[in-house]
């Protein structure tokens, strides 16, 4: 359990009054999670960092629109989701309707010339995630890596809870099949 002398809600109230330092403290609590969410969606560190900065700037500018500070996390991820999909739309060629894929997820092991995910399991997971649709992948990221409840995911991606469940369950079936050979080799 993490003890926080100052709750997020207090920092949000201070930031609303123009306290930039309070907002910077709030960013420090969330930037890593938001960055990794975006990284797993867009598959590119540079884009993930740029988008993260945009997300926190937009969040600051719209902080007063947040009615309930307790709902900060889904609200922040909703902004991040919109930013990521806005980037997808900009980069999608005119008229293309095919499913969007992370640009360099396969190359995530070599981005910047450094080994990012060196072990076989992480490569297998990266490859398996790449085979999901962007909606399925985002749902897996929000559920498995970010730990949101179905209702919160539905709020973030602006879809019904039933759709979220369907996307996750389908993705899990696909991942189960993709990762079975890796498990069988005893990598995990």
């Amino acid at each position: 359990m993490i003890f926080r002398a100052v709750e997020d809600a207090d920092l949000i109230r201070k930031a609303r009054r123009g306290d930039v330092e309070a907002y910077n403290l709030l960013i420090s609590r969330w930037e890593r999670r938001v960055y990794n969410y975006l990284l797993r969606i867009v598959g590119n560190r540079e884009d993930a960092l740029d988008l993260s900065q945009d997300v926190f700037l937009k969040a600051y500018q719209n902080l007063r629109k947040l009615d309930d500070p307790a709902r900060f996390a889904p609200w922040l991820y909703r902004i991040a989701h919109n930013e990521a999909y806005s980037l997808f739309r900009k980069r999608r060629p005119e008229g293309e309707t095919e499913e969007l894929q992370p640009e360099t997820l396969e190359g995530a092991a070599t981005v910047g010339g450094n080994a990012v995910f060196p072990v076989e399991l992480t490569l297998a997971v990266s490859t398996a995630l790449r085979k999901l649709t962007s909606d399925q992948r985002e749902t897996v990221v929000l559920k498995i890596y970010q730990g949101f409840k179905f209702e919160e995911i539905a709020e973030i991606v602006a879809a019904p809870v039933s759709t979220v469940k369907s996307r996750l369950y389908t993705a899990l079936e696909l991942l189960k099949n993709e990762l079975a050979p890796v498990k069988a080799r005893g990598v995990s």
């Binding site: 007063r64 399991l121 899990l172 990762l179």
Partner: protein, 206 residues
């Protein structure tokens, strides 16, 4: 695959309600197939979680720059529109103010009152008639008073003129009388002198 109606994925990811979770838990203990399925799901979850989070390559932070800060007016406006409670309160306050103003300024309703337009026209007509009567009366009164005042002044002037004329006439009569008296005395004096002279001449002649 799992036995219907048990939601093993929901159970694995802690999305079930308390009663449903207990029922599934009991079922999994007795169902080998569901237990294997649950193990596979947990294996997938563990594999996914083996993909570690990365550190953010560059920390994000903002400086206190007015450019990034909304103005006080914008903060207030956004606070109003961003909060349903505040917006509702403001709407209720405006409605209350409108009701108070209306209750103060509205005309007093009358029993069996005709339609407002007709009442207004009748009131305007009555007001115009009363205004005309009042103006006519005031003008007539002022004219009468003016004429009376002028008549009084004329009479006073005439009376003064008469008095002055009478005095002048009287003074002139006095002066004429004085003149006549002087002339009479002068004539008497001449008569006496003539008489004396005539008497003396007769005596000498004799």
């Amino acid at each position: 695959m799992s036995c219907s109606p048990f939601d093993l994925k929901g159970y694995c990811f802690k999305e079930l309600g308390e009663s449903e979770r207990r029922l599934t838990e009991v079922h999994v203990r007795t169902c080998a197939r569901c237990r294997e399925e649950l193990d596979r799901l947990r294996g997938v979850e563990a594999a996914l979680l083996a993909l570690p989070d990365e550190e953010i390559p560059q920390r994000i932070g903002f400086v206190s720059d007015p450019v990034f800060q909304p103005s006080a007016l914008r903060r207030g406006w956004e606070a109003l529109w961003g909060s349903a409670a505040r917006l509702g309160f403001a709407s209720a306050a405006m409605l209350s103010a409108a009701l108070v103003v209306y209750s103060i300024t509205r005309p007093v309703p009358q029993a069996n009152a005709p339609a407002p337009a007709i009442v207004r026209a009748a009131l305007e007509k009555d007001f115009a008639r009363r205004l005309n009567d009042a103006v006519a009366n005031a003008v007539a009164k002022a004219v009468t008073e003016s004429e009376a005042r002028q008549a009084r002044q004329t009479q006073a002037l005439l009376a003064a003129s008469d008095r002055r004329h009478a005095l002048e006439t009287q003074a002139m009569m006095v002066r004429v009388q004085e003149y006549l008296d002087v002339e009479k005395k002068h004539l008497d004096t001449l008569r006496v002198m003539a008489s004396n002279e005539y008497g003396g001449a007769n005596g000498e002649a004799r």
